[in-house]
Symmetry: C2
Subunit: 190 residues, 2 copies
């Protein structure tokens, strides 16, 4: 049996929320799990074929709006089992952040522009922070914060999104202000 990729497990996870088409999954992939895992439809369609071949999903074909049939996927028992086995395994750590990478070489570029960059990053984070804080509160009111709730995972992911934005906001704000110090020091010396 061909092993399931991380994307495959991500799709199975999304399908625990109910049957969906590839198109649906492309959008479901955006919020909130998209804050921590992304995929384009060109990656999703072939992956669904593979999951179907492995018996982890069942396909139901119907009339499509375009020239092709619309395919609705449902997770199978085999899919649930595979997911349940994968979940408790230690996750791979795959760090990749251009935002932080750029900070590593921050003083190789114009400090004014770098300060602007991190200020704008902080501004975006501040906005998201507000939006997501409100969303999280709404979720809590709807009972999502109880671990037995079927959408508890959405709550947990959004909570992490919120904390991450908070850290980004604090760090980018700190970095921007430090970079502005360089500019004013320089001005004073000239």
């Amino acid at each position: 049996m061909a092993p399931v990729s991380t994307l495959g497990y991500a799709l199975l996870s999304l399908l625990t929320r109910g049957p969906a088409t590839g198109y649906d999954l492309t959008r479901r992939m955006r919020e909130p799990i998209g804050y921590f895992w992304v995929a384009q439809h060109s990656q999703i369609y072939p992956e669904l074929d593979r999951l179907a071949d492995a018996g982890h999903v069942e396909v139901h074909e119907g009339e499509g709006p375009g020239p092709r049939a619309k395919k609705t996927y449902t997770i199978t028992e085999s899919g649930r089992d595979a997911l349940a086995e994968w979940l408790p395994e230690p996750p791979a750590f795959q760090p990749r952040s251009e935002m932080v990478l750029k900070a590593y070489a921050a003083n190789s570029a114009d400090p004014v522009r770098m300060a602007e960059l991190y200020q704008s990053i902080a501004d975006v984070a501040a906005e998201r922070l507000e939006t997501w804080r409100a969303e999280l509160e709404m979720m809590a009111e709807q009972g999502f914060s109880r671990p037995s709730h079927p959408r508890f995972g959405n709550y947990a992911v959004l909570k992490m999104g919120l904390e991450s934005q908070r850290v980004t906001y604090d760090w980018a704000t700190w970095l921007a202000s430090r970079l502005r110090e360089v500019v004013s020091e320089h001005d004073g010396a000239d």
Copy 2:
């Protein structure tokens, strides 16, 4: 001119710390920037060739320990210019965290094992938190925290690493304890 990849800019960033061989860069890539960007030597060697072709690095060949010549790379003015242009541009956001993805489907697996998973993640984060806190303090004492210091970037990256571990610790601890609630509720009901 072939455009420089993100990995190429990462290598140029590392080379602002001084000339290095591919082997050196493979290790320099580990701390602290490796907390946010990783690359294997098999990716680094061909990328250095490309940077050399583009004139962004200069190569000096010497006697190697093995069968091949040892190549030392130095960043050129052209390399510094390319880096300085890339740095202030808005970074791509490339989120990929299996750790959070697994939380999205947390209640599709055995809560005992999931609680253990997030507890062990929290434990690892707690250890790193301590180590990195001490490292960051040492850096501050050596003056790295001043934005004009040539290693300010190391400080900024490690600071972000520290904050990220703190968030991971808090979140994973919260998640583990919530998952344990499910178990005790279940026990009570049985």
